[in-house]
Point group: C2
Chain length 107, copies 2
DNA sequence: TGATTATATAAGCATATACTTATATTAATG
DNA sequence: CATTAATATAAGTATATGCTTATATAATCA
């Protein structure tokens, strides 16, 4: 891993919305439509943030029918876990999503 | 520390030149003119990078006569040390500076 | 005090980034 | 097989970023 890659990783981390997405993914894997619901942003905006997180290998995806579930990765960055540790707990936001009936359940 | 501040910190880390500066400061404190010499960049470019690192509390300064020596800080970020650990060793670059006779010695 | 050295700041410019709206792709379903 | 739902991508735009050159500030020194 060279300096250019490390810089790209931090650029990816250098946005409040993406940090919120990572904080949410700390709780559990989520799909774009759920993130749209929680973060109250447009679907393309979320998709573009996810793309950046994917390109920098901070999240990985798992397709499940019509949904794509995103979850934390970051395994190539030795410092990633300690960064995650400083992100806030977002269990409540996920709870709210479930209460609103907008949680995607499938398997 | 809120998400906005964490994002600002990572923005600060999201630049190759600033990562090189931090890598160099891992070896020892340096002043702007030494960084100019090692990184072969203009003095205002270096000063502006240093300003960003200072604003995000990743480096601190110590004035010594006409020089200002910059050194690592980052004490407010629990993850900073693990990021530093992934940055390359730049002892050789500092050695080159000393050999070139451009190292600033004072006290 | 005037010149020199180190550093900071300001203004200008080219590129990058984060959004928007519109459209394309992909999978499920009736 | 046409429609719907989830997601991705493209194009446009406003703001941010990283450089440049020019100038200001601050400390030293002759």
């Amino acid at each position: 891993m060279n300096l250019e890659q490390i810089a790209e990783c931090h650029k990816s981390l250098g946005d409040k919305t993406r940090l919120r997405i990572l904080s949410l993914l700390k709780v559990e894997e989520l799909c774009v439509c759920e993130l749209v619901e929680i973060l109250q942003m447009t679907q393309p905006a979320i998709s573009q943030h996810i793309r950046k997180l994917k390109n920098t290998k901070l999240v990985k995806e798992r397709r499940q029918g019509q949904w794509i579930f995103y979850s934390l990765d970051g395994s190539i960055y030795p410092f990633f876990q300690s960064i995650l540790d400083t992100l806030p707990d977002m269990k409540n936001e996920i709870e709210e999503l479930k209460k609103s009936g907008r949680k995607v359940f499938c398997n």
